[in-house]
Symmetry: C2
């Protein structure tokens, strides 16, 4: 516990801070409710201190009082893990021994204490779920940042390019496996990117765009990367002792059962919601997918049409300004529609009434992925597979967008679409891919790090100004920090600011990486340098994410996980689609490496489809082969898992059967019996029971007799040749 004291020194040993907000409640109710809360916390053995929070809130500091209590909870959790097959070996029956053998990491401690606070009452926890039912005033429950560690961590990362597995261990020990898996994934992805970055750059220089060699190598690389990562996941799971942890499912509080049934075998009362009913509800996803595709598709296609009209048809004044109109429309409309659709998706997901948090998250991830797929890739798909091949056919119909430029046009001619002779802009596709590969990444980075920083600074300034003005007027709410004790003041100020930070959601960051991976598999053949841009971006991304966790977000509560979850399927799906889209792009535009030339007249449908057919099936076969090959290879994780299981079995067998269990019994105990006793026995036997079986089995009295008789038979029956041979 000594190290624990040292590292947490700044935090006064606080395990968790609970913010209690009473702005919308009457005083009496708030007090009563607060008393219940404090009592519930005390009941599970937590020490409590209350302080003032900002804006009608209280900060409740809790820590575990007794080591026994904590150790017992840890032991219970470990036994549970063992029973669910996550730990190969049963934890030592003595709690203290068990903890000495395998000391508690910080993340484990935080996880256990969090479970103590939020876990179900029936299992002896406090059952406090923020903003839910009885605890609607509890706003959040969060641990405090360890600023000493954070500073060192960020400093280290600034100087090191490749994270070692020990660095990942460090993240896991601090922030839990879920966050660690994100960093491990991004790190693996970053390291793997070096190859396509180098190869892509060379092929860009040597082979130009739309090189089929680059396409094949890139697709192969994606397959290998995904299969490698799957393996890496398992390895890390073994290393961190979380393999199979998804088997422990926590019930969602929001789950509404339809009926309660008593299990006939176990007598357990089960709250069930019929799977068929959920399946019917899931069918609503189909109209939702259609709706989302239509809504986003129409917007994107319209803006796309307007853009082409303005940039390539329109020739009137203000062209250079008007050209930005569709981009503006997109920037305004797509996030709005996405927000609405996400809201609908959440409602749908709620309505599907999932029983466990994992299932809920997984279903939600799928829906979010569909939305992201449309918003991220549809524009490029439109350019590649609609604009370029069919541009000359479509452009004449674009005069419906005259509306957008009519007020500015000098004469009708400037708005007229060319009836013939229109040539598409061959650079458009490349420009678009470069936009998504470079510009969008930078914009994203800015949105993610700089904007929140400015926002926070502004907010602080605003608060200060407000307080000052209120102080001048004298009638304002009392300052939260007014009564702070001097030795606590600095600490409390820090806690108050941490309480206002956002909660870190690792799936947002993962989504970003997956979407980025999609550009690489789907479109990088257009501009092979894509991977270089991503490589640079991800170096920054990894570090900025670390900073984000340390500075801009509340310290995340550690959660366990044994994979990056359903995003893995998304990665596989993107590679698959990539094998189709890349083949199509190469066939359509591979014009001696010059890129699309706007003369797609000599494209043959059957040849395009045949290219796709082969590409896709080769992808599938390669995928299978790589998976098979990797599954045959040994890895440190698998070796460790095997060794652990072996040890458990060995120990158990030694305990149960003793070291000598394998010893053979002494042969021939019948030998000691004398001839006469045998005869006596046989006589008695034939009197006592004279079943045919007994007769049969008593003919030969011992194995020696059998051997002798056998030898006799061999002598008699052996073929004549053998006789001669002797």
């Amino acid at each position: 516990m000594a190290s624990h004291n040292n590292t947490l020194h700044d935090n006064f040993d606080v395990d968790y801070v609970i913010t209690y907000r009473f702005a919308d409640t009457t005083k009496a109710e708030a007090s009563r409710n607060f008393q219940d809360l404090v009592q519930a916390l005390a009941r599970v053995g937590l020490a409590i201190e209350v302080r003032n929070g900002e804006n009608c809130s209280l900060l409740i500091f809790v820590k575990v009082t007794s080591d026994d209590r904590l150790n017992n909870a840890v032991y219970r959790s470990r036994v549970k893990d063992w029973l669910y097959g996550i730990r190969p070996a049963q934890p030592d029956r003595e709690t203290q021994n068990s903890l000495t053998n395998q000391p508690l990491t910080e993340a484990e401690r935080y996880r256990i204490v969090h479970h103590l606070i939020t876990g179900p009452k029936e299992e002896g926890n406090a059952g406090i779920i923020p903003i839910h039912g009885q605890w609607k005033n509890v706003e959040s429950i969060f641990p405090l940042h360890d600023h000493t560690f954070n500073k060192e961590w960020i400093k280290k990362w600034a100087t090191v390019t490749f994270l070692k597995v020990e660095d990942l261990d460090e993240i896991r020990n601090r922030f839990g496996e879920k966050v660690a898996y994100y960093f491990a994934f991004t790190q693996s992805y970053f390291a793997f990117l070096i190859f396509p970055a180098a190869f892509g750059f060379s092929s860009w220089v040597l082979l130009g765009h739309f090189s089929s060699i680059y396409a094949i190598v890139n697709c192969l690389w994606s397959v290998v990367f995904i299969e490698y990562w799957k393996r890496q996941e398992v390895d890390l799971g073994v290393r961190w002792g979380v393999k199979g942890v998804s088997a422990i499912q926590e019930k969602r509080r929001e789950f509404q059962h339809e009926k309660e049934i008593k299990d006939p075998i176990t007598g357990e009362t089960l709250q069930v919601f019929p799977a068929t009913k959920r399946l019917y509800r899931q069918l609503l996803q189909l109209p939702f997918a259609v709706l989302a595709s239509l809504a986003l598709g129409v917007i994107i296609a319209t803006c796309f049409g307007i853009e082409i009209f303005l940039s390539e048809v329109y020739s009137g004044p203000f062209k250079s300004i008007l050209v930005f109109l569709p981009t503006l429309m997109l920037t305004a409309l797509v996030p709005t529609i996405t927000t609405i659709l996400t809201e609908i998706a959440t409602r749908l997901n709620d309505y599907e009434n999932w029983e466990t948090t994992d299932a809920y998250d997984s279903a939600m991830t799928q829906k979010i992925f569909i939305l992201n797929f449309i918003t991220s890739y549809l524009p490029v798909f439109l350019t590649a597979f609609v604009y370029v091949p069919f541009g000359s056919l479509i452009v004449p119909y674009l005069d419906i967008f005259q509306l957008t430029a009519r007020p500015f046009a000098g004469n009708e001619k400037q708005l007229a679409t060319p009836k013939s002779g229109f040539t598409i802009n061959p650079a458009r596709l490349r420009k678009q891919v470069i936009y998504f590969a470079v510009t969008a990444q930078i914009v994203n980075f800015a949105m993610e790090t700089i904007v929140p920083y400015l926002k926070r600074q502004g907010f602080h300034k605003y608060q200060e100004l407000k307080t000052e003005r209120a102080a001048k007027k004298g009638g304002a709410a009392p300052n939260a920090a007014a009564n702070d004790l001097p030795e606590e003041a600095q600490f409390l100020a820090r806690v108050r600011s941490e309480a206002e930070l956002d909660v870190y959601d690792v799936s947002t960051d993962l989504r970003e990486m997956v979407v980025q991976f999609g550009y690489l598999t789907l479109f990088s053949v257009v501009w092979p340098v894509t991977a270089v841009s991503f490589l640079i971006n991800n170096w920054v991304e990894l570090r900025s994410d670390a900073v984000k966790i340390c500075v801009e977000m509340q310290r995340p509560t550690p959660h366990r996980a044994d994979s990056i979850g359903p995003w893995l399927d998304s990665l596989g799906f993107l590679t698959w689609i990539g094998s189709i889209s890349t083949a199509a792009l190469v066939y359509l535009f591979s014009n001696d490496g010059l890129g699309p030339d706007g003369t797609p007249a000599d494209i043959k449908g059957w040849a395009l489809l045949l290219t796709i057919f082969f590409s896709e099936h080769i992808y599938l076969v390669v995928c299978l082969a790589v998976r098979l090959a990797l599954s045959k290879m040994d890895s440190p994780g698998m070796q460790k898992a095997h060794a652990e299981r072996f040890m458990v079995r060995k120990r158990y067998f030694e305990e149960s059967f003793g070291e000598d269990a394998m010893e053979l019994p002494p042969p021939m105990d019948r030998e000691k019996i004398t001839r006469s006793s045998l005869e006596e026995e046989a006589r008695q036997g034939s009197v006592r029971s004279s079943t045919p079986q007994d007769h049969f089995w008593l003919r030969q009295r011992s194995w020696e007799e059998s051997a002798k008789i056998g030898a006799g038979l061999i002598e008699k029956m052996a073929p004549a040749e053998t006789k001669k041979h002797q």
Copy 2:
């Protein structure tokens, strides 16, 4: 044990019979070897009786002498199962209790005794592997048929159409899970066939051939069937307590390790063969696949060409006889080449040096499947996708086959291929499918049941004749039955005849079913009545297989399994290919339901490929959807598995933490402390240790104090609105 005695009455309680053949060994060596064998058997606690066998062989009868010995072996096996996660609950520590709770099935007994005889010496077994190393004289080890049961079983099956799960349990209890899984699969398949049989017949009557509706329904049906069976496998695995049994791997005796390494963690000595080296060796499969495809493909294509030449070009004499020439060639050549290729495949498989029996079998199954795929489906593929669409192009070049008919031709004109105006025979494809769906099934059935019967009868007659003639001459080898005791004579005669029977190999029967399933998914759209034929065939097949096991084969040694193994993948593969081939067939030949008309001129390549593309991807999506939907459904097996796991956890938690582990600790143990003692403590505390933490945590002494202070803060900080509200 009473029932055991009754049912085995006829078999004199014999557990296993070992045949020892000494025809090729000198007498001295045979005797010495025999003594070793008998000693090894006695050493593991088996009672032994030796009798004469046919043709220079001995029959060694063994049974387990002591119940303790057997029970101990059973207990060890069950503990091992538990440690490998196959049994959810640890077997009762008392062996006898464990056996009373879960009595021994006949199959389990036979399996345990078999392991006692053949299992590795290091684990306390006899280590006798037939025809291997030291035991090259041991020809076979087999249990004896239970004729009473067999008779009843076959009688029951003759009257019952649908097997209930209890019937499958019966098979499992007698012949072990591996055989039971085959019957369970065939039974499920049979039951599922009723739908396509009914639907196929109606669609044949109403929609004609090549109906796209039939194609879609048939493909959907295949997907549902396979997914249903996967689930059924799991359910049966739970029911029979074998789920996950494939985790227990038995090392192959033939495995040759490259080096021995000592595991650094466990200290276990591991015999390893590098996985990469095996991968390289596996690459040899590629040239093998090419060779096999070429060899079989050339033969099949040649015969096919000759057949078309003779039946549709040649017009000379003997045409009606010559037409059978290619069929004869096929019948003679294909099995020969297949045998050679199977031999090569076995060598390859041996060379791959698999470590476990399961891995070896699985790799072999894959190779066999490839061979079967070519021989079974290539002829139809050739007709459908080469002859019909390109017939008119190819036929003019068929004069290379003039050779086959030249000796009989009256004049050159009879041999000349028409330079134009040739029309293909549109009925050829249908005829071929009907041949494979009906004729081949009947031929197969005859080959499988009637031919071996006749062979056996002939062999017996031949033996009798030989013995008679030898007896007349007087100089022959002595008759094996000459010295039999009268009360044993009948029994020994039966055992001698059983010793001569073949060993039952369930994978041959499974392969037959898989190949049949392939015709259904790949080609049944040509002739939708296919399923009706298969339905009838499989009713007979199930029964004839039962008869085969009981009469024509040695009783199989029970083996455990938790699935039908790699054949499952083959089924999935066939459905996948089916989605492609069916779509292509429908597009090519769907001529208003009239079938191919030999005018494929208006076939468009892109349309064909687009049809295939959509069909395949719809198949993949449907496959995923069905899998997802089924995985959400509850099933008896999964309920049982869940209940079992729940009981284990509950029991363990109750044992470890007691029934009251969930009880809450008494709140507020600080309350009893008086005010003065608190102050004293605080003073002393500040003397003893005055860290900031202590100060922080001692401000509020109990949860009541925290609650009170919190209430005060709420009173002070609450917003004005709330005050008005009161």
